[in-house]
């Protein structure tokens, strides 16, 4: 019985080491795992796939480096999908520290898909006070963004001349952590009827299912699993798919530890009762 007491009181650094190994070893060994696609991610994929060529997609970078490992793969996959479908992309953001991540992704994906800044995509930058901006650009984007983030007038980009508000945007993709995705759905989806797909961290995904269930979201991509599913759908595995074996092993470890911890607890409790 001392065994269970010892096990229950295991030094936390041993647990840290076990977790580190559970994550590192699969990354190094790269075992193959089958990725099953779920309905919310398939619908997100179809929302982009069904857009006519030349449609405008607005992608909002509503996350920052603290969530980048989960959400950045989604951005890269969606950009690849949009460019493959010859859609026009407008990049914006609601989190100050997140916008450069969008620029990094664009500079990774655009050259490999032969897309040109100003012709196929534009980065319009960021404005503080996101709810006001979300409602404000429902009337006219130029009320907030006269130029792109480099200071070039928006009207100097050919495809932007026809884009004034949400009526000219085929799909809004919010890649978010925190409550920004909720704000897009409530303020923009509710008021302007804009079609919205959300890619979010695992922490936010449970909360967003209610919007998916009510039809307020055209699709939902949740966490690293969701990102790997989207990569599978566009047939271009990336960092999310690479991380899934490690995710699997880590989850298995945690479930095992929970079982062991509770088994020890139940045995101790029974012993005390007897």
């Amino acid at each position: 019985m001392k065994f269970w007491d010892t096990l229950s009181g295991l030094d936390r650094r041993i647990l840290y080491l076990l977790l580190a190994l559970a994550v590192a070893l699969p990354l190094i060994l790269k075992p193959h795992v089958a990725i099953r696609t779920s309905e919310p991610v398939r619908r997100a994929f179809n929302a982009v796939e069904s857009l006519p060529e030349g449609s405008v997609v607005m992608i909002s970078i509503d996350y920052d480096p603290s969530s980048a490992p989960e959400v950045q793969p989604m951005l890269v996959a969606i950009l690849r999908h949009c460019f493959r479908r010859n859609l026009k992309v407008i990049l914006t953001g609601q989190l100050a520290l997140g916008l450069p991540l969008g620029e990094i992704a664009l500079n990774q994906v655009a050259p490999e898909m032969n897309k040109t800044y100003g012709v196929d995509y534009v980065n319009i930058g960021y404005r503080p006070g996101y709810t006001a901006m979300m409602v404000g650009i429902g009337r006219e984007i130029r009320d907030y963004f006269q130029t792109d983030y480099r200071g070039v007038p928006l009207d100097s980009f050919e495809f932007m001349r026809a884009v004034h508000n949400y009526r000219d945007i085929g799909l809004l993709v919010s890649l978010a952590h925190g409550g920004v995705a909720d704000a897009w759905i409530i303020y923009v989806g509710g008021r302007f009827g804009q079609r919205i797909v959300v890619g979010c961290t695992g922490v936010n995904a449970p909360n967003l299912y209610q919007f998916y269930s009510s039809g307020q979201l055209a699709g939902l991509i949740g966490g690293l699993q969701g990102a790997s599913e989207y990569e599978t759908l566009i047939d271009r595995p990336g960092s999310a798919t690479l991380g899934m074996p490690a995710q699997s092993v880590a989850h298995g470890l945690i479930i095992l530890l929970l079982c062991i911890g509770n088994l020890g607890f139940l045995i101790s409790r029974r012993r005390k009762k007897n």
């Binding site: 994550v23 100050a96 404005r127 409530i186 509710g190 922490v203 960092s239 490690a246």
Partner: protein, 208 residues
């Protein structure tokens, strides 16, 4: 290329410095922590200038003057003034002036939120809950929403019928919290995978 190499080593050092906290708090961790706060604060100031003050005040002012719209240009002094008044919060004797811009932002937030909450959240969510009870899923959803709402009704003691429904509500709430925990674990592990990938691939080149 050299800058990228130096950068990778700087990033790896900072990553290990933060991870060293897992062993115990140490000066290396505190250096990284204070660097993070300082750099983030500096970043925020540059952001406010680049994406707020410069384009929405200075460039807008110049543009209106160039277009001959003098009234529009000078009206921009109002939000500029409100912004500067906000900064007076730091001076105790003049802090009361910051109530005006604060009230302005709160009024905007309340006004937007009042309508948006009803139109964008309440109505769609209630409408979706009121589905025909012809499938198990619809029935479970309906029972779950009602029982959860009733659980949080504390104006009456949870006894009798209300008590029974509240207990059903707790079941749904526990399932929601468990699902939340499961997804949170997934999220945090994903972040760890990201950092380990950087260390093993970008820094040590163990992963090819």
């Amino acid at each position: 290329m050299l800058l990228n190499l130096i950068g990778t080593w700087v990033a790896a050092t900072l990553t290990i410095a933060i991870l060293s906290f897992l062993y115990k708090e140490n000066p290396l961790y505190r250096v990284a922590e204070h660097l993070y706060v300082g750099i983030s604060a500096g970043f925020a100031i540059i952001y406010v200038w680049s994406f707020d003050v410069y384009p929405m005040l200075i460039q807008a002012f110049q543009r209106h003057l160039a277009e001959g719209n003098r009234a529009e240009a000078w009206i921009l002094l109002i939000p500029a003034g409100l912004g500067l008044m906000m900064l007076l919060r730091s001076i105790p004797k003049l802090a009361w002036i910051s109530r005006w811009p604060m009230s302005f932002t709160i009024g905007i937030g309340a006004g937007l939120g009042l309508v948006a909450t009803v139109q964008g959240y309440l109505l769609p969510q209630v409408t979706d809950t009121l589905r025909p009870l012809v499938t198990v899923n619809n029935a479970v959803l309906y029972v779950g929403v009602i029982s959860t709402l009733l659980y949080f009704y504390f104006s009456r003691e949870h006894r009798g019928a209300l008590g029974a429904v509240s207990r059903v509500g707790i079941i749904f709430i526990m399932v929601a919290f468990g699902a939340n925990f499961g997804y949170t674990v997934m999220a945090r592990i994903s972040l760890l995978i990201g950092r380990f990938y950087f260390l093993l691939h970008d820094w040590l080149h163990v992963i090819r």
